[in-house]
C-alpha cells in the first residue's frame, strides 16, 4: 500500500498530527544544524576577527588559513593520528573479538573490562595518561625502578613525538568499542558455515580470514566510519593530554579551530577551518549514508 493511499484512510487530525509533532525537531534541525552551517560558511567569507561582521572578504580567510603553518601541522597531525588510531584500534579490536569468540570462560567480565574506557570522558583519559606518560615520575621512573636505567620516554614534551601520545591514549579508550562491534557481528555469523568449512578441513585462522571477516564487511565499514569521525572531531583528548603542545606540535584541526575562533580573535579563520572539517566529514559520510539508506530501501 503506498503512503498516500494509506493516508487517505486517516482523519484530518491524524493526517496532520504526526507532521505537527515532528515539526519542532525538524525546525530545530533546520535552523540549528543546516542554518548554522550556512551562517558559518558565510562567516568564513567575511573579515570577522574578534567580533563577527558581515563585510565580504571573498576567499581571504581561506588564504590566511592555507598560509598558516599551524594549520598544516594540524592537518598532518590529524592524518598521523587518524591512520594510527584507526589502524591499531581496528587491529586490536578485531583480534580481541575473534579471541573472545572462542567460547571463553569469563567472557562477560573480560568484555566489561575492555569496554569501560569508552564510558570515560576523554578529559579523564587525557588527565590519566598525562600523569602516566609524565617524563620523570611516570613510566620512565617505573622502568628505572625495574632496572632499565637508560630507558627514556619523553614523548609528552618532545615536539617530534607528542602526537603519538594522543594515539596511545586514544587507542586505549576506543579499541574496546571496535571489539564490541565486531563481536556483535561475529555472533551474527551463521554457525553452520563454520561447521561446513571445518568438515572440508579448513583451519580456524583460514576460516576467519577467508570466510568470516569478508562476511563482516558492513561492520568493517561502519566501524571505519565511526572511528574516522571520532578522529576528526577529537578535541578533548588533545586539550587534556598535550594542550596542543609542546609549542603547537600536537594541534589538530578541532583545537586549531577552537583557538582561532575563541582565544586568538581570528573568527574568520576559525570559521574557514571548521568548513574544511565539515567538507572532510561530508566527503566520508554522505556516500556512506546514501548507500545505507538506499540499501535499506532495496533490501
Amino acid at each position: 500500500m503506498s503512503i498516500s493511499a494509506q493516508e487517505a484512510h486517516y482523519g484530518f487530525t491524524e493526517r496532520w498530527l504526526p507532521r505537527l509533532v515532528l515539526a519542532p525537531s525538524f525546525l530545530l534541525t533546520l535552523i540549528f544544524l543546516y542554518g548554522f552551517i550556512i551562517w558559518n560558511c558565510y562567516l568564513s567569507f567575511t573579515t570577522s576577527r574578534l567580533m563577527p561582521n558581515l563585510t565580504w572578504a571573498g576567499l581571504a580567510q581561506y588564504q590566511i588559513l592555507f598560509e598558516n603553518e599551524r594549520w598544516w601541522v594540524a592537518v598532518k597531525n590529524l592524518f598521523i593520528f587518524a591512520s594510527l588510531f584507526i589502524g591499531s584500534g581496528m587491529a586490536i579490536g578485531i583480534g580481541l573479538a575473534i579471541f573472545l569468540d572462542q567460547k571463553i570462560r569469563g567472557e562477560g567480565i573480560l568484555r566489561t573490562i575492555y569496554l569501560y574506557p569508552m564510558a570515560l570522558s576523554f578529559v579523564v583519559t587525557g588527565t590519566a595518561w598525562k600523569w602516566m606518560l609524565n617524563p620523570g615520575l611516570g613510566l620512565e621512573k617505573l622502568m628505572h625502578d625495574w632496572g632499565f636505567i637508560h630507558f627514556t620516554f619523553d614523548w609528552l614534551v618532545n615536539s617530534e613525538m607528542s602526537i603519538y601520545t594522543v594515539v596511545i591514549a586514544g587507542v586505549w579508550q576506543s579499541s574496546g568499542f571496535v571489539m564490541a562491534l565486531f563481536l556483535a557481528g561475529l555472533r551474527g555469523v551463521d554457525d553452520s558455515i563454520i561447521k561446513a568449512a571445518q568438515i572440508d578441513g579448513a583451519s580456524l585462522p583460514r576460516i576467519y580470514w577467508k570466510i568470516i571477516l569478508p562476511a563482516l564487511r558492513p561492520v568493517f565499514f561502519s566501524t571505519l566510519m565511526i572511528l574516522s569521525h571520532i578522529a576528526i572531531k577529537s578535541f578533548d583528548l588533545v586539550m587534556a593530554l598535550t594542550g596542543g603542545g609542546p609549542g603547537f606540535s600536537s594541534v589538530v584541526p578541532a583545537t586549531f579551530m577552537y583557538a582561532m575562533a575563541f582565544t586568538r580573535g581570528q573568527m574568520g579563520v576559525g570559521a574557514a577551518s571548521s568548513m574544511m572539517m565539515l567538507a572532510t566529514v561530508a566527503a566520508l559520510v554522505v556516500p556512506y549514508l546514501y548507500s545505507e539508506l538506499r540499501g535499506k530501501k532495496n533490501g
Binding site: I3, T13, R15, L17, P18, R19, V21, L22, S25, F26, L28, T29, L30, F32, L33, F36, I37, W39, L96, F99, I113, Y114, L115, Y116, M118, A119, L120, S121, V123, V124, T125, T127, A128, W131, N134, L137, G138, L142, H144, D145, A180, L181, A184, P218, S222, M225, K233, D236, A240, G243, Y258, A261, F262, S274, M277, V281, V286, L289, E292, L293
Partner: protein, 283 residues
C-alpha cells in the same frame, strides 16, 4: 595438544590485555591515595604504605581551578543540573520523533529522517560560532540553560535514530489493530508503544547521560564561571600550574569526574553496549 597450547595462548593474550586496560584505573586510584612524598619516592605501580584520602577532599572542595580554589564540587553540581534536563528532554523528543518516523510516515518523512541523521556525524565545530552568537541573543549565553539547549539540539539526531530503528521493528499490524479499535495517535503511543519501549528508553537515557556528562567542547565554549561542567573543571584543575604539581589531587579529581559514568556503566553496561552497537550497526 596443539589445541590446548592454542587455548593457553588465547587466555594469556586476553588476560594481559585486560590487565593493560585496567592499569590506568589502578594507577589513578593508587596515586590518589598516596602522599606527595611517596609519589616522588615510589613509582607508578608501587603500593602506598600510607593510605590517605586527603587528596580526594582537596580535589572536591579546595583545589585550584585557575584563580579560584574551591575544588570540583560546584562543577559537579553544574554538571548534574545540566545533565538531568538535557537527558530527559532529548530522550522524550527522540521517542516521539522515532514514533512518527517509524509508524506515521508521510510524504517527505524519510527525507526529514535523513536530514536529522546527518547530525549524528556532523563536526560540531561548524556550529560553535553561530551558536555562541545565538545563545547571546536568546539571553542564555554562559548559562546552564544554554548548555542544556545545545545538548538537546545536538542530541536529537542520535535519540531519534535509536527510537526510530527500534520502532521499525514493532509490527505494523499492532498499530492497525489498535486503529480499528478506535485508538488515535497519542493513545497508541502511550498505551501500546511506550510500554514496549523500556529497553530502548534505557539505552537512550544511558547514551545521552554518558555523552552529556563527558562533553567538553560545548562546556568549554558555551559556559563561563558558575555554569562550567565537571570536564571543564577537571581540565582547569589539571592544567593549573602550581609550584608543586599535586598528582594525587589530579587523579582524585579525574576519578570524581569519571565516577558517575563508571557507575552507570557498571550497573547498566548491557544497555550502554547496546547503545554503542545500535548506533553503529544499524547506522
Amino acid at each position: 595438544m596443539a589445541n590446548t597450547l592454542g587455548r593457553i595462548l588465547i587466555y594469556t593474550v586476553l588476560c594481559l590485555t585486560a590487565f593493560y586496560y585496567l592499569l590506568p584505573l589502578y594507577v589513578m586510584f593508587i596515586t590518589s591515595v598516596k602522599g606527595l612524598e611517596e609519589i616522588r619516592s615510589g613509582n607508578l605501580l608501587s603500593f602506598p604504605t600510607d593510605i590517605s584520602f586527603a587528596a580526594w577532599g582537596k580535589a572536591w572542595s579546595s583545589a585550584c581551578t585557575g584563580v579560584e580554589c574551591r575544588g570540583l564540587s560546584s562543577y559537579f553540581y553544574n554538571s548534574v543540573r545540566m545533565v538531568i534536563p538535557g537527558v530527559l528532554i532529548s530522550t522524550a523528543l527522540g521517542a516521539i520523533n522515532g514514533y512518527v518516523l517509524a509508524k506515521w510516515r508521510f510524504k517527505g518523512s524519510e527525507i526529514i529522517f535523513a536530514m536529522i541523521l546527518f547530525g549524528v556525524f556532523m563536526p560540531f565545530q561548524v556550529l560553535l560560532l553561530p551558536m555562541a552568537q545565538t545563545l547571546g541573543w536568546m539571553g542564555i549565553a554562559s548559562s546552564t540553560t544554554g548548555l542544556v539547549f545545545v545538548h538537546v539540539v545536538c542530541g536529537l539526531a542520535s535519540t531519534t535514530l535509536f527510537f526510530r530503528n527500534y520502532y521499525v521493528g514493532i509490527p505494523d499490524e499492532l498499530i492497525k489493530a489498535a486503529r480499528l479499535d478506535g485508538a488515535g495517535f497519542w493513545r497508541i503511543f502511550f498505551k501500546i508503544i511506550l510500554p514496549m519501549s523500556t529497553p530502548i528508553i534505557m539505552v537512550t537515557l544511558i547514551w545521552q547521560f554518558t555523552n552529556i556528562w563527558n562533553d567538553f567542547l560545548f562546556g568549554v565554549v558555551f559556559s563561563a564561571g558558575d555554569s562550567q561542567p565537571i570536564t571543564v573543571g577537571l581540565n582547569n584543575l589539571a592544567n593549573t600550574s602550581t609550584s608543586v604539581k599535586e598528582y594525587n589531587v589530579d587523579m582524585a579529581a579525574a576519578i570524581i569526574a569519571a565516577l558517575p559514568t563508571i557507575l552507570v556503566y557498571v550497573f547498566a553496561g548491557k544497555y550502554f553496549v547496546r547503545g554503542l552497537t545500535a548506533g553503529a550497526v544499524k547506522g
